[in-house]
């Protein structure tokens, strides 16, 4: 998938709306701050701050997509709202600060956490665009993440019986060179760069063995090779699906931290 294809938005209208809204907000800020003094505590600066805080609260409702369909309906719409509102909220945060660096510890923490949460979220969006495409384009096997060890065991069992049927040469080759690697999962990080990384090298032994196996075993050798390929693809699935699951660790807990600090920030505003 080319970069352009990966970055293409699913619902372009939402992207256009968000970009337009951001421009409007910035234009509003530039106009107002040129004429009147800008303060995050009063007037439009406060309004942007409140808007950003409210949007962050709404963002937290994303998990609620499971239990209620209203008002947005499908989970697709919820996710679109989550992503685009999140980006817009960050723009609101920056405008709220008046495009100045914050003064105190709390302010800095809030800004950095907002930036991190938004950036990590967009990073996740990017991951979710290219990893499935890479898997669909480069791999044939499709497996449930939790089942992969079980499936590999099944492959090993199938290979065992296949090797047992065959000649001694095949059996020996299988036991010495293939079985261990077939049975152990090795989700290498290289799969993130190329979904079929290392396949040629891994299948090389099978190709070499072709010359040394009797005729009736040639098909069995092919089958063993395809079993091994299945296993390699399962490794790739393990790594890629693992990344797709685990990236949320860098997004959700910092978001929680951010929300806690937002509450402290609101308290400070109200109290002082």
């Amino acid at each position: 998938m080319s970069l352009a294809e990966v970055l293409r938005p699913k619902v372009p209208r939402n992207l256009h709306a968000t970009v337009a809204a951001s421009f409007v907000a910035l234009a509003l800020f530039l106009f107002v701050s040129w004429r009147w003094a800008w303060s995050p505590k009063r007037g439009l600066g406060l309004a942007f701050g409140i808007a950003a805080a409210l949007v962050y609260v709404l963002e937290m409702l994303y998990p609620a997509r499971r239990s209620r369909a209203r008002p947005l309906g499908t989970a697709l719409r919820y996710l679109q709202a989550h992503v685009y509102l999140g980006a817009f909220a960050f723009v609101c945060v920056v405008i709220h600060s008046g495009l100045r660096f914050p003064g105190g510890t709390l302010g800095w923490l809030l800004l950095l956490l907002s930036l991190w949460t938004t950036a990590s979220g967009l990073f996740g969006v990017w991951l979710q665009k290219w990893i499935p495409a890479a898997m669909a384009g480069g791999l044939q096997v499709e497996a449930l993440y939790e089942r992969i060890p079980e499936l590999v065991e099944g492959l090993v069992a199938e290979a065992d019986s296949l090797a047992a049927e065959g000649s001694d040469a095949l059996d020996r080759f299988y036991r010495q060179e293939v079985r261990d690697r077939l049975g152990s999962l090795s989700p290498s990080w290289g799969y993130l760069f190329d979904v079929r990384a290392g396949r040629e090298a891994a299948l090389d032994p099978f190709r070499r063995m072709r010359a040394y196996v009797p005729q009736e075993d040639k098909e069995r050798l092919e089958d063993l090779a395809s079993l091994y390929t299945d296993k390699l693809e399962l490794d790739a699935q393990l790594r890629l699906q693992g990344v797709l699951r685990r990236w949320l660790w860098i997004h959700v807990p910092p978001a929680g931290l951010l929300m806690g600090l937002v509450v402290v920030h609101v308290f400070a505003w109200v109290w002082y």
């Binding site: 998990p63 914050p102 003064g103 709390l106 492959l155 402290v264 400070a268 002082y272």
Partner: protein, 609 residues
């Protein structure tokens, strides 16, 4: 058949796979969120305020950083009263937005009706140790006034059609010619008299001693006074008895006339006699001027009395002050309520009649007649509500002066009445031009209210354990007031030197007039005589009251004649030659030399007017 690589799942299980738990990520997120919520608040509760501080305070405020409550009131932000604790220790309200409106417009009604502005709306702290709080963002001014120099209206000085008369005859043209004869270059000529770097002023005030004496005084003398009949003036011998010291060698007495050979600027003898003559020739004017001076003195005295530094009081004193203020406030509210019902004109007229009756009863026919005539004049106004009344400002001033004179006379005639007239006098003095009595009462009540709030706030802060501000802060404010009061009292005393004068007939009047002319002859070379007195020289007063112009940087760029064009040809001293705002715009503007509102104007009035 070959197996081939699987398309899809290599093997199937008949059972459903277990799903990842729902709370895998939300659990830690909520945990962290609660931690982020609880930890700073807990730290805040035990006093570590850094967790919620939005930034360091400017260095003079640094001692307050430990306790936010010294400036912040929970849920109410920073109240003005906290800033005023140190910056307006006398509680004069000088630094409020209302004071600014009053300062700018001179209209107390407008000031009372204006929107209050909190100190913190312009002076924003928590931006670091190096901030200068006094440097206010220019855009703040724009929220009520115009936005930039390009929208600045013409200067008020030039807009008013009748500028104050200068009170001095000074042709620039003549003097510049003289200086040119002395080979003084044009640009240095101006600086001979208009010296930069006066204390607290841009240019030094014109002073005779510094600027005029070099040419106009010979051997310390301006000229001489022709012989004047002795009965018209006070002789030096008479004056010596009352403590005024004079040099007898300057006087020449012969044949019932006295002359003075050498007259200095502000010669004591001349000034005294001029005053006496004025009192005889223009008693109304004299009384009016004295009244004005007395009013100013009273005002300053009142300010000093009202200046209540809370720093030096302990808790008991504060509480008693609070009780007193609360009682006074109650009384004021009652009076205000009562005032609202009564038509003030009727009440006033009734009181005039009372005064007239009292005067008549005590035998002072003149006073009684004067009061009756005033009452008769005011009779058509009975029943008129305040809204239908609208005296022009000048007329109102004139009336006030009349009434003040009347009251003076009454007090002088009968000291017992003096106590009763004192109250009326005070109120009349406090009445700002154009202000109705109800408004005055409201103003007083507002002042008392803010004072009460100040005392209560101080009590609250003391209860929290906050130390009072240093007494030295007040002393700095008060010194200016003290000096001004002393000066005012001195001037008043000078007026009171003269004893009451008998009434004059026409002949006497003519003679006094002649004496006046003779006496003021050397002065009239420059000064102007108007209605039996020398007009005050206004050249000594600063022209710009609400703005401040620094000549020094401008003089480095251009000569005086660049902006003050045509001054060399000016023969009239009333010619202003103050350039208009267009001339400023030649250099100042958004794309040229920057000049924001604060470079010329100030928001707060000075501590002493």
């Amino acid at each position: 058949m070959a197996r081939g690589v699987s398309w899809g799942t290599p093997g199937r299980s008949p059972h459903y796979a277990p799903l990842r738990a729902k709370w895998t990520f939300l659990g830690p997120a909520l945990g962290l969120g609660l931690l982020a919520l609880v930890l700073p608040l807990a730290l805040h509760a035990i006093g570590w305020r850094g967790s919620v501080s939005p930034g360091a305070l400017t260095s003079p405020h640094a001692p307050f950083e430990a306790r936010c409550e010294e400036c912040h009131t929970p849920r109410a932000g920073v109240a003005d009263v906290r800033c005023q604790r140190c910056h307006d220790a006398s509680g004069a309200g000088r630094l409020t937005g209302r004071a600014h409106v009053l300062f700018g417009s001179g209209d107390p009604r407008k000031a009372a009706a204006s929107e209050p502005r909190a100190c913190v709306s312009c002076h924003v702290d928590h931006h670091g140790r190096g901030t200068r709080l006094a440097a206010v963002d220019q855009r703040q001014c724009g929220s009520c006034h115009f936005k930039s120099l390009s929208a600045h209206p013409e200067f008020a000085l030039l807009r008013t059609s009748t500028p104050d008369a200068p009170g001095i005859q000074f042709p620039h043209e003549r003097h510049m010619r003289e200086l040119a004869k002395q080979n003084v270059a044009a640009k240095d000529a101006c600086l001979r008299c208009h010296e930069p770097e006066g204390p607290g002023r841009d240019l030094s005030p014109i002073s005779f001693a510094r600027h005029c004496a070099t040419c106009h005084e010979k051997n310390g003398s301006l000229g001489l006074v022709e012989p004047i009949p002795l009965e018209d003036v006070a002789a030096p011998a008479q004056l010596a008895a009352s403590g005024v010291s004079l040099r007898t060698e300057e006087f020449e007495e012969s044949r019932g006339r006295i002359a003075k050979t050498s007259v200095r600027h502000r010669d004591d003898w001349v000034v005294l006699n001029l005053r006496r003559l004025r009192r005889e020739l223009d008693p109304a004017g004299f009384a009016a001027e004295r009244a004005a001076l007395a009013a100013r003195e009273a005002q300053l005295a009142r300010r000093q009395a009202l200046a209540a530094p809370l720093a030096g009081l302990d808790a008991d004193e504060l509480q008693s002050r609070e009780a007193a203020l609360a009682a006074e406030l109650e009384g004021l509210e009652a009076r205000l309520a009562g005032q609202a019902q009564a038509a003030s004109t009727s009440a006033g007229l009734d009181r005039l009649r009372e005064v007239a009756a009292a005067a008549a009863a005590s035998g002072d026919a003149d006073a009684a007649a004067a009061a009756q005539s005033l009452a008769a004049q005011g009779e058509p106004l009975r029943g008129a509500t305040a809204d239908t009344l609208s005296l022009p400002l000048a007329e109102a001033e004139a009336r006030r002066k009349e009434i003040l004179t009347l009251l003076d006379a009454t007090a002088a005639a009968d000291p017992e009445l003096g106590a009763r007239t004192e109250d009326l006098r005070r109120r009349l003095i406090a009445l700002a031009p154009g202000e109705r009595p109800a408004e005055l009462l409201a103003r007083v009540r507002d002042q008392r209210r803010s004072e009460l709030a100040r005392v209560r706030d101080e009590l609250a802060l003391r209860a929290l354990g906050v130390r009072p501000p240093s007494v030295a802060l007040l002393a700095a404010e008060q010194s200016g007031l003290r000096d001004a009061l002393a000066a005012a009292r001195q001037q008043l005393a000078a007026f009171d030197e003269a004893s009451p004068a008998p009434a004059l007939d026409d002949a006497g009047r003519t003679r006094r007039r002649a004496a006046l002319e003779l006496l003021s002859a050397p002065c009239r070379k420059c000064h102007v005589l108007e209605s039996a007195a020398l007009a005050p020289a206004r050249v000594a007063r600063p022209r710009l009251v609400r703005a401040r112009f620094e000549h020094a940087p401008h003089l480095m760029q251009a000569e005086c004649s660049r902006c003050h064009q045509g001054i060399e040809a000016s023969k009239q001293s009333s010619d202003l030659f103050v350039p208009g705002v267009a001339s400023c715009r030649e250099c100042h503007g958004p794309r040229a030399v920057r000049a924001d509102c604060a470079s010329c104007h100030r928001y707060h009035p000075e501590a002493t007017p």
